[in-house]
Amino acid sequence: MLYREAGDFKTSYTSDNQTFPIRFDRYGYYFVLGVAFLVMPLILNDYWTNALVVPFLIYTIAALGLNILIGYCGQLSLGTGGFMAVGAYASYKLMTGFPDLNIIFVILLSGLVTAGVGVLFGLPSLRIKGFYLAVATLAAQFFLIWLFTRTPWFFNYSPTGMISAPTRTVFGIPVTGASASALSMYMICLVFLVALAWLARNLTRGTLGRQWMAIRDMDIAAEIIGVNPLWSKLTAFAVSSFYIGVAGALLFAVYLGAAEAGEAFGIDKSFLVLFMVIIGGLGSIFGAFAGAFFLIAGPVLLKIMLVDNLGWATDLAAHLEIMIIGALIIVTLIMEPHGIAALWRTIKEKLRLWPFPY
């Protein structure tokens, strides 16, 4: 009854093209934005920010990036961890090399550097497709991690091989380093996420997005109607890597504070983000949010339930947690192969008619 489109007429192509054509959706979106910017800062404590919210925000950015590549352009990539490492190390080198550079620019530049690296490793996609491309990007993952652990220049010759983020401020408030508060971490990640999600939505609904999807759905037909495969595949790699680079820079500089390539950005990170994209829903912006929430919040909530509420041993809970999350992934994929986003779409279609059958 509440969720309906009847009577909601569009009189211009602008209003028909908007992101949330249904009024209820639109107000829901404003409400969520309001809560995220105004209410959450008041109620968040350090534990929840560190354990759940900030990683969720950062991984959503990475999932958005990978979703552009896999979900929109159909190019399979397993190099996400490696590209996040590029973002992290680029931000480290920029922060230590140019101490006066504002952290916002550092993160954006790290994204640009990663975009360049992504285009380089995206070049094979012009020749190879599907699983073979996945193997090529897997090579990128291992090569990049090897490069960052073996070349002392990247970690400024520190004896531990670790990189650690110095304190940087935005408007005088520290957002990186030890003195950064949970609130400032939350806010900078949120701003980046909202801006990048908005850009991703614009890119995917415009000409470029249609070119990506055309390449994904039928590359030969796409080329014959005028899509330049070189341009659209490489832009997908560039934009996707930019997002993943920004996520890597935020993960290192804002969230972790110190990192080591092999540990923080290993192959398991590539798979984590890939699972987020698949479970959330390929080719959907909302899917990136849903998938990241599922895989970040799931383990945290399970741990709270098992350890804190039921009083189980931590190690037992940790093992069970992996099994339960694994089972949930399988169940989700069997019940809804197109991910949570497709489930959400079905619910919305049902809701439009509810409580009438048709």
Binding site: R210, A214, I225, G226
Partner: protein
């Protein structure tokens, strides 16, 4: 300097003016390894006409269309388009010179809505750069709306308003064919290539499709090159017909001329040599 001599064209029996030569295929030979798909074929396509290519299965009709749309590059011979010899091009570059096509097996983008599919057809008319698009601002937004208006005209023309926002994967076969035509039309092509537009349709759908093809030719003056197996359709629609068999051209002329051509009858019906 033009690579071919301009000429006047002719007037059809029903009084339509047909222009000069739009595209000329000169001695095209196409081989796949040892297999010769097209053997030394020459013919021309004139502005504003409906040109059919017919022939039995495996005659090389689709290969011919693929040569025109730049998907195959012939080993020998040349394509002369708008008076100039066409250099070796990638298919997307050919598309930008004003050639659009539909496919024998529907080649729509299944994951996208009908509207998005047709909007993709207008790709070559959209020039906003990636940053404008990312901001959805200025040129990008303006272009999107201008092109949407053009697309809506095509949607109106082909009577598919009701499925505008439906994902293509949910459509029945006949409508998919129509959406594919819409996508090709949205490009506002000078030459429209149709590869078996009536394949697998029932009589009613065929009649609709015929009407659309004639209307396109009539209203927009689009030159149409058509491959079709339904002889009734071909003879009714086309101004001139090329007949191919085993990669060779065995007939070329008006439907009547072709119908009475002995070699064509032989290829289609089979004649015992006695």
């Amino acid at each position: 300097m033009l690579d071919t001599q301009p000429d006047e064209g002719y007037t059809t029996a029903d009084g339509r003016k047909i222009g000069g030569v739009a595209m000329e295929m000169k001695n095209i030979t196409l081989r796949f390894g040892g297999v010769v798909a097209i053997k030394d074929i020459s013919f021309d396509i004139r502005w504003g006409e409906v040109r059919a290519i017919i022939g039995p299965n495996g005659a090389g009709k689709s290969s011919m269309l693929n040569v025109i749309s730049g998907f195959y590059n012939p080993q020998e011979g040349e394509v002369i388009y708008k008076g100039y010899r066409r250099p070796r091009m990638r298919p997307y570059q050919v598309a930008r010179t004003g050639i659009a096509r539909t496919f024998q097996n529907i080649a729509l983008f299944e994951g996208m809505s009908v509207l998005d599919n047709i909007m993709t057809g207008r790709l070559n008319h959209m020039k906003a750069n990636i940053f404008q698009q990312a901001m959805w601002w200025g040129k990008a937004q303006k272009e999107e709306e201008e092109n949407r208006e053009k697309v809506e005209k095509v949607i109106d023309f082909l009577e598919i308003q009701h499925i505008r926002k439906t994902p293509v994967a949910r459509l029945p076969y006949g409508l998919k064919k129509r959406v594919e035509l819409a996508r090709a039309l949205a490009a506002e092509p000078s030459i429209l290539l149709l590869d078996e537009p009536m394949a697998g349709m029932n009589v009613e759908e065929k009649e609709d499709m015929c009407r659309f093809i004639l209307d396109v030719n009539d209203e927009f003056g689009t030159t149409i090159v058509l491959i079709e197996h339904d002889m009734g359709v071909v003879m009714d629609l086309s101004d001139r017909v090329v007949v191919m068999d085993y990669g060779k051209k065995i007939g070329d002329g008006t439907p009547d001329e072709v119908r009475n051509n002995e070699e064509v009858i032989k290829a289609y019906l089979g004649v015992t040599d006695d």
